[in-house]
Amino acid sequence: MNLSISLEHYLLLSSILFFIGLYGVIVRKNLLMLFFATEIMLNAVNIGLVAISNYYGDLTGQMFAFFIIAIAASEVAIGLGLLVIWFKRHNTVDLDSLQSMKG
């Protein structure tokens, strides 16, 4: 029995986490929860990238993960700002209340 951890293990974990995040995005209606789920998905991708980087001895994967973290941070900053404004105006953070785009 080969007990060493291979790339596939990491990728599998990454996929599972990604779909936990996807599930959250689809099922939850609270915008805050949506943000959380998005973070999960981003992190899932990061795991995959870092794992590949490690197993192939290439730094590019880590570079990507690095930039993804930067983007995630910006997204949270802006997104939360918008969310706060929205909450102030409508007193709700429910996704279905965002109907102003309906044609």
Binding site: L22, V25, I26, L95, D96, L98, S100, K102
Partner: protein
């Protein structure tokens, strides 16, 4: 009788022959344009006089050309200008005055002049007086174009031109539904035949490389016979339309809706003989294919009898004469088909004289009877209109073929040819037809001019036509009597370019008997007609009228009805079907269907764009899934295919 004139006139000393030719051709169109300018204005008698004198000028020019040729002048051939030239095709406006065309020109202009003068009287009360003369002169121009052209396409110009004028003139009284219907019928039926004519011209062009008569006829022996017979057949189809041969004959009887001078000029003397003219003109083509010629002769004989039977029972004076024209055209085609071209031309000439005379006489009767055409309502008119009666009697005798009238010479020659070529069935048919012809001619004469004055019951007060109209008809009457006597001069003249028909040795011995037999049946026909009408009104009793044959003949063998049922109605219904079912419901609906498909896709999917984020997210996931599936399918396409093949095998 020998009228050999020893006056050797050289006409070209006085005037240039090509100028004469242009005068003959173009003076009618000048007249037509002058009359056309005043087309919509009220009647001006001057127009009629000017136009008639221009036609007379044309006649004089034609006569000049005739004299020029008669006294040994050379054939006049002018090339006015190029018309169509593209690729290797080059067609000029070229005109030729040779013995055949000059004969035709003479006949056309002579009859035209008389008809024009006659029309001044006949149309005097018509509000379309000027228009009538414009059309009539345009017709003369087209007819001259037809006979004078030196190539097939020029002939076709005239051919279509006379068709157009015939359409205008049949439908001259355009407010009458029947007249315009007949006009359209004539035009369209002629067009069907013109299709054949055009195909013949196409064939000539692609096989001879030219459309000039002389060049075509020079090459005619180097072309395979099957091509020649195709050309002959297609040209004859064209001739069948213009000359109203079966099965394209129905328009001629309906064309009697036009004014009577038109019937005399177009539908008796000139236009309908254009088909015969074509066969004579293209004799070098037809002579090479005797089988086609035999077919033409058989059809001609059939039409001769067929039309004569219809003439027996008809009660419309003009229609009877129209059927008789059909019948006589059949005679001409018999002669043409059997290779006796000069005889065909000869009969054409004599027929033009007496048939025009007959029609003009009928016109007088019609006028007198206030446009009543039914001969059963006439009778005893000789008392009121003796002149007309006399003229019509002359014409009828000539038509019946009684010696020494013109019809005798030409018709008898045709019978002799049929006998001589051992086509005894044709001869028998024509012989029988001669009897029928005599009968129906005199039936009209008797019913119209003799017997009791039935018109009084209908409150009609007949009157004789203007004197000048009768005088105008007189030259025709004279010619109907004497034209046959010039037979030898005619032969000498036209056989300079037409092949001579040589009778076999044996025929000379029995020719006397043949003449006797023919004359006998003609006289018998006349006698029956006269006797039967002397004692009672009409030969056909009421019991006879319920007879099947009588009904068949009276309804023109039901052919117009059959055409209506088989061609006209299905064509109209098919057109409606094409438009409403095919074009709108299939072709267009397909296009609209594609558009609607796209539109409904949009309509159905616009629910997606509800602005609801959670729905959009779900759709996004569906999209991702689809893309993933296709990515997998793509990367494993090969293995999936092999797997599928394994399963299927």
């Amino acid at each position: 009788m020998n009228f050999d004139i020893n006056l050797n006139i050289n006409i070209s000393n006085f005037i240039d022959t090509s100028t004469l030719l242009y005068i003959a051709l173009f003076s009618p169109i000048v007249g037509s344009l002058i009359a056309g300018i005043y087309g919509a204005s009220p009647k001006r008698i001057g127009i009629g006089i000017i136009v008639s004198s221009l036609i007379f000028l044309s006649f004089l020019a034609s006569a000049g050309l005739f004299l020029h040729l008669y006294f040994g002048g050379s054939i006049v051939n002018v090339r006015m200008m190029d018309w169509i030239s593209a690729g290797d095709l080059s067609v000029p406006f070229g005109f030729v005055a040779d013995q055949v065309s000059v004969t035709m020109m003479l006949v056309v202009t002579l009859v035209s002049t008389i008809v024009h003068i006659y029309s001044i009287g006949y149309m005097e009360k018509d509000k379309g007086f000027n228009r009538f003369f414009s059309y009539l002169s345009a017709f003369v121009f087209s007819m001259m174009f037809l006979v004078m052209s030196d190539n097939f396409l020029g002939l076709f110009i005239g051919w279509e031109g006379v068709g157009l004028c015939s359409w205008l003139l049949i439908g001259f009284w355009y407010e009458r539904e029947s007249a315009t219907w007949a006009a359209n019928e004539a035009f369209i039926m002629n067009r069907i035949a013109d299709l054949g004519m055009l195909i013949g011209i196409f064939l000539i062009y692609w096989h001879f490389g030219t459309l000039q008569y002389d060049e075509v006829f020079a090459k005619v022996n180097s072309i395979p016979v099957d091509i020649i017979s195709m050309i002959a057949i297609f040209l004859f189809i064209g001739a069948m339309g213009k000359s109203a041969q079966f099965p394209l004959h129905t328009w001629l009887a309906d064309a009697m809706e036009g004014p009577t001078p038109v019937s005399a000029l177009i539908h008796a003397a000139t236009m309908v003989t254009a088909g015969v003219y074509l066969v004579i003109r293209a004799n070098e083509i037809f002579a090479l294919v005797p089988e086609v010629g035999y077919f033409i002769a058989s059809l001609g004989a059939f039409v001769a009898l067929f039309a004569a039977t219809m003439a027996l029972v008809n009660r419309d004076i003009k229609r009877v004469i129209a059927y008789s024209t059909l019948s006589q055209l059949g005679y001409m085609f018999v002669a043409g088909g059997l290779g006796a071209y000069w005889i065909a031309l000869f009969h054409l000439v004599t027929h033009a004289f007496f048939k025009a005379l007959l029609f003009l006489g009928a016109g007088n009767v019609m006028h007198a009877m206030e446009d009543e055409l039914n001969i059963m309502k006439m009778g005893g008119l000789r008392k009121v209109m003796l002149g007309t009666a006399l003229l019509m009697l002359i014409a009828s005798v000539a038509l019946s073929g009684i010696y020494p009238f013109a019809g005798f010479f030409s018709k008898d020659k045709i019978l002799e040819v049929a006998f001589d070529t051992h086509n005894y069935i044709l001869w028998g048919t024509l012989w029988l037809t001669a009897g029928l012809t005599a009968f129906y001619s005199f039936r009209i004469v008797m019913l119209v001019f003799f017997g009791s004055a039935r018109y009084k019951d209908f409150g009609i007060h007949p009157h004789e036509a203007h004197g000048f109209m009768l005088w105008a008809m007189t030259p025709l009457a004279v010619l109907a009597i004497v034209a046959g006597l010039f037979e030898h001069q005619f032969i000498d003249f036209v056989t300079k370019i037409l092949p001579v028909y040589n009778f076999s040795e044996g025929i000379h011995e029995i020719i006397g008997q043949l003449v006797m037999v023919t004359t006998a049946i003609a006289v018998t026909g006349i006698t029956i007609a006269v006797l039967s009408n002397m004692f009672k009104e009409g030969l056909f009793t009421n019991t006879f009228k319920s007879n099947f044959i009588y009904k068949l003949l009276d309804n023109q063998y039901y052919i117009p009805k059959i055409y209506d049922e088989v061609f006209s109605k299905p064509y109209r219904e098919l057109s409606e079907l094409f438009w409403k079912s095919v074009d709108l419901k299939i072709v267009d609906a397909t296009v609209d269907g594609i558009a609607n498909c796209i539109l409904s896709t949009g309509e159905n999917t616009r629910g997606m764009q509800s602005g609801n984020l959670s729905i959009m997210l779900r759709l996004m996931v569906i999209g991702i899934t689809v893309l993933l599936i296709s990515a997998i399918l793509y990367s494993y396409a090969d293995s999936i295919l092999t797997l599928l093949q394994g399963v299927l095998n």
